[in-house]
């Protein structure tokens, strides 16, 4: 993993594109106890070498899409990672006190399970199985068995002309090993029970917010596509991210979310250009804090948002190094839709849409967050936690 990510600050105009592209961090994940942080990047570091499917000359993208830790049972530490096609199991060596970073070593390769691009992996609470999801299918694997898997969801239509939605994310329930959720490009969530049947094409619950027909526009379906879904630590709620909002759902209520937070509503008047430059298809992740009281998600201009569920209030922060001091306190930012710009405000027109915070992770117990901003990794800590040290 080369240089310290914190000091690396590659200026696009001075370096050839391929160097910058490979350094872009594509996934971040804390371990269950929060003592380790894993990152994957577009160059396939942490794991993958670019490989070729020899019979089809299809170049498989190295970019690591997701990393998930395996809950620790003995001294050994393992994590799962996936690129577009292949899932790998890695062993993490025991850290010495002087180690800042360690090299993981590959232990198992789970190949050829997916025809389409893998978007999610999720380790089951039974610690023996995990699921992997691509655009049309979800597979169930055993961590010890690499040469076969079970297909548990298949939404591929007989005729591809009839395709109306794709799977965008999937996750196992944190406590109930038989339950998993998956989200779609149409903004729906489906809870499936593996005890109900072997093939979970029929859902146990379908979560969908009714659409307001008066508000429907060309962009409605595209912005409703769910890019990420996460169970709360309690297992009682779901957090989803679509293009403009984050929503909290109660597992017991299918008819709509219980909370909706606007991430960057000012983009509604920019949808035409965001469609033209493909930004409208950006896939943002979202995250819960350890007590499920605060939720977090990324935005543009290296901004990210946090919402306090108790007060309903949101704050905008910027993933950037405050000039000078290393431990400066982050100032809150404000985006102004129009009119006269006040000090400390950023106008919508000046937002940098190439600076997107897509990937992030919240420490499982402490108020420490990891934010991937293109090729930089920022670690932010709550002031109280910092003072206690």
């Amino acid at each position: 993993m080369g240089e310290d990510a914190d000091t690396k600050n590659i200026n696009n105009s001075f370096l050839p594109d391929y160097v910058t592209e490979a350094d872009v961090i594509s996934t971040v994940e804390f371990s269950h106890r929060g003592d380790l942080l894993a990152t994957g990047d577009k160059g396939g570091r942490v794991s993958h070498e670019p490989d070729f499917d020899y019979l089809k000359s299809l170049e498989i993208e190295e970019k690591i899409n997701k990393i998930r830790w395996i809950p620790q049972h003995n001294a050994a530490r393992f994590l799962l990672s996936t690129n577009d096609k292949t899932i790998k199991l890695w062993k993490v060596p025991v850290l010495k006190p002087t180690d800042l970073m360690v090299e993981v070593s590959p232990r198992r390769i789970f190949a050829n399970g997916h025809t389409y691009h893998v978007n999610s992996i999720s380790v089951n609470s039974d610690c023996e199985t995990y699921l992997s999801a691509d655009d049309l299918r979800i597979n169930l694997w055993h961590l010890d068995i690499t040469d076969r898997c079970f297909n548990i969801v298949d939404i591929k239509p007989a005729n591809m002309e009839d395709l109306t939605e794709v799977i965008t994310a999937a996750e196992f329930h944190p406590q109930h090993c038989n339950l998993f959720i998956y989200s779609s490009s149409k903004g729906t969530l489906r809870l499936c029970d593996m005890r109900a049947s072997a093939l979970c094409d029929q859902h146990s619950k379908l979560f969908e917010e009714p659409e307001d027909p008066g508000n429907r526009s060309f962009f409605s379906e595209i912005v409703s596509s769910i890019s990420d879904v996460r169970f709360s630590h309690s297992g009682r709620y779901l957090l989803t991210r679509d293009y403009l909002t984050v929503k909290v759902w109660d597992l017991n209520m299918e008819r709509g979310p219980i909370e909706t937070y606007q991430v960057h509503d000012y983009l509604r008047s920019k949808l035409c250009s965001l469609y033209e430059n493909d930004c409208i298809f950006d896939k943002f992740e979202c995250s819960w804090n350890g007590t499920d009281s605060v939720i977090m998600t990324g935005a543009y201009n290296n901004f990210f948002r946090m919402f306090d569920r108790e007060t309903g209030r949101g704050v905008t922060l910027e993933a950037a190094r405050e000039t000078g001091k290393a431990h400066a306190v982050l100032r809150t930012r404000r985006v102004r839709a129009g009119g006269k710009r006040r000090k400390d405000q950023v106008t919508v027109d000046s937002l940098d849409f190439t600076k997107k915070i897509l990937h992030m992770a919240w420490h499982p117990t402490d108020n420490i967050i990891a934010i991937a901003a293109t090729n930089n990794l920022y670690i932010f800590q709550d002031k109280v936690s910092y003072d206690i040290q």
């Binding site: 089809k56 170049e59 691009h117 794709v166 508000n215 409605s220 509604r268 949808l271």
Partner: protein, 117 residues
């Protein structure tokens, strides 16, 4: 004289149209953006989430015909009997011999492809 009257009428109509447009913008910035998009791309289909867009999403990434691979796969086929695979499995991975006809058209630029159909 009649010309004058017509002119007045036209002005009134325009004001109503403008007012409606302003109302639309106030009510729904999304609808205003949609109008902008359709003005730029008049042939844009009415179903944005339709199968065309999704299929292009699924096909992300270039695929090439490689004669070396073609010959390698042919040689492999000669040596062993392949188990029957389901039709869609041979589509992308597996021991299917790629031929030029199998590979989809080179993906055009994304903006153009969104406009097709």
């Amino acid at each position: 004289m009649s010309e004058e009257i017509e002119e007045t009428k036209n002005i009134e109509e325009t004001t109503t149209d403008e007012r409606k447009e302003m109302e639309d913008k106030v009510i729904s910035p999304e609808k205003a953006e949609e109008a902008k998009l359709k003005a730029r791309y008049p042939h844009l289909g009415s179903k944005p989430g339709g199968s065309d867009l999704l299929r292009k999403r699924l096909q992300k990434g270039q695929k090439y015909f490689d004669s070396g691979d073609y010959n390698m796969a042919k040689a492999k086929m000669k040596n062993k009997q392949l188990p029957t695979a389901t039709a869609e499995k041979t589509e992308i991975t597996g021991d299917h011999i790629p031929t030029p006809q199998d590979l989809p058209q080179r993906k055009p630029s994304l903006v153009a492809s969104k406009l097709a159909g």
